[in-house]
Amino acid sequence: MAGERVKESNRSNAFVVSARKRAMQKLAKIAGESILFSVAAFVAVIVLFIFFFVARDAVPFFQIRGFSEFFTSSNWYPADEPGEFGALAIIYGSLMVTLGSAMIAVPMGVAAAICLSDILPFSVRQYAKPVIEMLAAIPSVAFGFFALVVLAPLMQNSGGPMLMWAWWILVSPFLLLAVIVGSDLLTSSIKEEKRRQKSYVLLLILFSLIAVVLLFKVGSVLNGIQILTGTNALNVSIILSFMALPTIVSVSEDALQAVGRDIREGSYALGATRAETIIKTILPAASSGILAAVILGIMRALGETMVVWMASGNSSHIPEPWFNYLEAIRTLTATIAGDMGEADQVTGSARFHVLFAMGLLLLIISFISNFVSERIVVRQRKTLSGQ
C-alpha cells in the first residue's frame, strides 16, 4: 500500500493533472471499490435473507401449535383435520441415517485421507484423487435412483446373505489382527523368552478359536435375517456414506497435510514405524482438522434430500428396537420435499408452516456445525503455526 501511495504522488508530480480530474479519479476508485464490496457483501445478505425468510414462515407454526408437540410427539398426521405435527420420529430418522452414514464414512474417510497424504506415492495419488472427485460429482438423484432400483431389491431378496458376507469380509481381517496383537500384548510382560513364546502360541490358538466361533455364529445369525423392506435406514446410510466420503477425505487430507514434515521426521527418528508415527503423532496433531472434516461430512448426510426421499421408505415412526436399521424411516429433508407439494395449496396453515419449522431446524443445525468446524480449523492453524 505504501508503495502505491509513493507511486501516486510521483505521478501527480510528473503529469500535471487538474485537481478536478484527481478528485474524479479518487471518486471512481471509491465507487469501484464499493461496488466490489457490495457484491462481496451480497453473500452475507443472502445468508441473512435465508434465515429471515425461512424463520418468517416457521414462526407461525410455533405460534399456532407451540413447541412441545413438535419435539416430543411422534404422531405425524399433517393431513388430518385437525392435524398432528409430532416430528420426533422424523428428527430421530434424520439422526439415525446421519449416524449410520457417519459410522461407515468416518473410519473409511479418515483411513483414505491418511493413505492419500502419508502412504501412497505421488503417482498413485494422482489417480486416486479424480476417483474421489467423481464420487463427489455424481448427482444425488443418481445415487437415490441406484438405492431405489438396484440396492433396495437386492436387499429385499438376499439381504441376509449380503449382511453375512459383509460381516465376514469386513470383520475377519480386524479379528485376525486383534488376535495377533492381543496375544502379543498379554504375553509381553513375561520376561523369560521360552515361556513367553510358548504362552504366545497357546494364546494365539485360543483366541483364533474364539474368533472363528464368533465369526460363524454372528454370520449365521445375520444370514437368517429377512429384510422386509429394501427401502430402509441401512440402505440410505450406505448410500449417504458414499456421498459424505469425498468431503471427509478431502478436508481431513488438508488437515493432515497441514501437519509439518518436521513432526513426522522427529517421530521416524525415534524409531517409530509409519503406523505408529501416524497414530501417535500426526493424528493427534491433525485431530481438530479431522473433526472439522467429520462435521462437514455429517452435515452433507443430514442435509441430503433425494436419496432419503427415494430410498428411506418414508414411514414416520421410531424403529423397534430403536437401533433397528432394517426398518423404513423418514427424515426431515424428505418430509419437506414430499409434503410441500400438498401443503403449498394451503399456505398459512400449520401444515405449511411446520415444513418451514423443519427447514429452520436444519438451517440452525447446519449453521452451528459450520461455525464450530470453522472455529476448529482456525484454531488448528493457529496452534500449528505457533509451534
Binding site: 443472502i46 460429482a137 438423484v141 496383537v181 502379543d184
Partner: protein, 448 residues
C-alpha cells in the same frame, strides 16, 4: 510389543488405508456400472416392429414402404392368432353357462396379455392413451410379456412364517381341450415372426420429446430444461462470484467485517439444498414474485445462490495461485491496481476460475432439491427461450425422481429412467472430467 507384531500392525494399517480407497473406487464402479450398462439400453436395444410403427405414427420417421411390408409380414402370422381367438369366442357361445363363466376370467387375462404383447386386437376400441396403441416396442419387454401370456403367476402363501413365493402355472393347461390350447404354442413359436425384432439404434431418445408420459419417445424436454436451469444459474452466479473473489483477494482488509463475510460464505456453502428450495419458494416466488408460480428463472436464481460459494472459493484459489511476480511486474510498469487486475491477474487466473465454473455448472445441473418447489414439473414439453420467465420446465434430475418414484408404471419404463440417469451422469461427469483435465494443464503450465 515385539518387532514382528509392530511390523504386522504397520502393514495392516497401510492395507486398511489402501483398502478404503479401493472400496471408494468400487463404490463408484458399483453405482456407475449398472447405470451405464442399463442406460445405454435406452438408445441401443432390440426393437420390434411395434417400435417402428410407433416411430412412424408419432414422429413420422422411417420408410413407409419398408414398414408396410414389415407390418404385412407380421400381420400374416398374427391373423392366425386372431382367428384362434374368434374361433374360441364362437366356442364359448356354444358352452354351458357354468363352463363359460369358468373360462371367462381366464380368457380375459389371455386377451389382456395378448394386447400388451401385440397391440390392440381386431375389434377392440381405439385406445385413448398412446401406451395402449402399440404392442411391446422392445424385445426384452416382449419376452417378459410372452411369459405372462404363457404362464399365470400365483403366490404360495402356505407357510405363514416366510414371505409368499411366486410360482407359475401354464395357461395352456387351463385351456386344455378347447380350441384356444393351440394358441399358446403357436405364439411361443412364432413370436419373432410376429414382432420382427432387430437391433435398433434410437438416437431419438436424446432428441425426441416424450409421448404419453415417457412410455415412448425421448427425453429432450428434460435435457433442455436442465440446460436452461444450469446456464441460467451460471449467468447469475459466475460474474457475482468472480467479482466477490476479486474483492476478497485484492481489496479486503483483514478485520472483523472481512471474517464475517467469509463466515457468511462458508455458511452459505453448508446450507442443506432443500432449504435453498424453501428459500426460493418463500423469497423469489412468494415475496419477490419473479413469476406467478414455478418458473425457470426462479429455479435458476435459487441454483445460483447455491453454487455461489463454490464459485467464489474456486476463483479465490485461482487468483491466489497467480505468481506474485506477475503482479509486481505490472505494478512496476506504472499500471494501476485495477488495470493490473483486469489485464494481468484475471487472464492468468482465468483457466482456474473457469475450472471452478465448470464444476459448479455440473453441480447446478445435477441438483434436484432446490428446483422441486421453484422450477420443476413432471410432465411437459420443451419450453421456448421466451418462456423461461413464466413457465416451469421438466428437468433431468427431477424427472428421474418422478419417473422412478411417482410414475404410475415405474417398473415398465425402467429403460427410460436408466437412460435419463445416464444422460445426467454423463453430463455432470463430462463437465467434471473437463475441469480435471483443465486443472492438470494449468498446474503443468504454472510449473513451467
Amino acid at each position: 510389543m515385539n518387532i514382528g507384531t509392530r511390523k504386522i500392525l504397520d502393514r495392516s494399517f497401510t492395507a486398511v488405508g489402501i483398502g478404503s480407497i479401493i472400496v471408494m473406487a468400487l463404490a463408484l464402479m458399483v453405482v456407475v456400472v449398472p447405470i451405464v450398462s442399463n442406460g445405454i439400453g435406452a438408445i441401443f436395444f432390440t426393437g420390434t416392429v411395434e417400435h417402428r410403427k410407433m416411430l412412424h405414427a408419432e414422429f413420422n420417421r422411417g420408410e413407409r414402404q419398408n414398414l408396410a411390408s414389415e407390418v404385412a409380414s407380421s400381420e400374416r402370422y398374427r391373423t392366425k392368432v386372431y382367428e384362434m381367438l374368434s374361433a374360441f369366442d364362437a366356442e364359448l357361445e356354444t358352452m354351458e353357462p357354468e363352463k363359460k363363466a369358468q373360462y371367462d376370467s381366464k380368457y380375459s387375462q389371455v386377451k389382456t396379455a395378448l394386447h400388451a404383447l401385440l397391440g390392440p386386437l381386431p375389434g377392440d376400441m381405439v385406445p385413448m392413451l398412446t401406451r395402449f396403441k402399440y404392442g411391446q416396442t422392445r424385445w426384452e419387454k416382449a419376452e417378459e410379456k410372452l411369459h405372462e401370456l404363457l404362464y399365470e403367476s400365483k403366490w404360495d402363501n402356505s407357510n405363514p412364517d416366510i414371505m409368499g413365493k411366486e410360482y407359475f402355472v401354464s395357461r395352456a393347461v387351463a385351456f386344455e381341450g378347447t380350441s384356444l390350447a393351440a394358441l399358446f404354442p403357436y405364439v411361443k413359436n412364432n413370436i419373432e415372426k410376429m414382432l420382427l425384432p432387430e437391433f435398433t439404434v434410437y438416437w431419438g431418445f436424446i432428441t425426441d420429446s416424450s409421448v404419453d408420459s415417457h412410455f415412448f419417445g425421448g427425453i429432450w424436454p428434460e435435457i433442455q430444461g436442465t440446460f436452461f436451469l444450469a446456464m441460467g444459474a451460471m449467468l447469475f452466479a459466475f460474474p457475482l462470484g468472480v467479482i466477490a473473489a476479486i474483492y476478497f483477494t485484492e481489496y479486503a482488509k483483514p478485520g472483523f467485517l472481512n471474517s464475517m463475510l467469509r463466515s457468511a460464505n462458508s455458511t452459505l456453502a453448508g446450507v442443506p439444498s432443500i432449504v435453498f428450495g424453501m428459500f426460493g419458494l418463500a423469497f423469489f416466488i412468494n415475496t419477490l414474485r419473479v413469476s406467478e408460480s414455478k418458473s425457470v428463472i426462479a429455479g435458476s436464481l435459487t441454483l445460483a445462490i447455491m453454487i455461489l460459494p463454490t464459485i467464489i472459493r474456486a476463483a479465490e484459489e485461482a487468483i491466489l495461485a497467480v505468481p506474485k511476480t506477475y503482479r509486481e511486474a505490472s505494478l512496476s510498469l506504472g499500471s494501476t491496481k485495477w488495470n493490473t487486475i483486469a489485464t494481468v491477474i484475471l487472464p492468468a487466473a482465468l483457466p482456474g476460475i473457469l475450472t471452478g465454473g465448470v464444476i459448479s455448472l455440473g453441480r447446478a445441473a445435477g441438483e434436484t432439491a432446490p428446483i422441486i418447489f421453484t422450477a420443476a414439473v413432471s410432465v411437459g414439453s420443451a419450453i421456448g427461450l421466451a418462456d423461461v420467465f413464466s413457465s416451469p420446465t421438466p428437468a433431468l434430475s427431477w424427472n428421474i425422481y418422478n419417473l422412478a418414484s411417482e410414475h404410475e408404471a415405474a417398473a415398465q419404463i425402467r429403460h427410460v429412467q436408466y437412460g435419463m440417469v445416464l444422460a445426467l451422469v454423463t453430463i455432470v461427469l463430462l463437465l467434471n472430467l473437463s475441469a480435471i483435465v483443465l486443472r492438470a494443464r494449468i498446474s503443468k503450465k504454472l510449473k513451467g
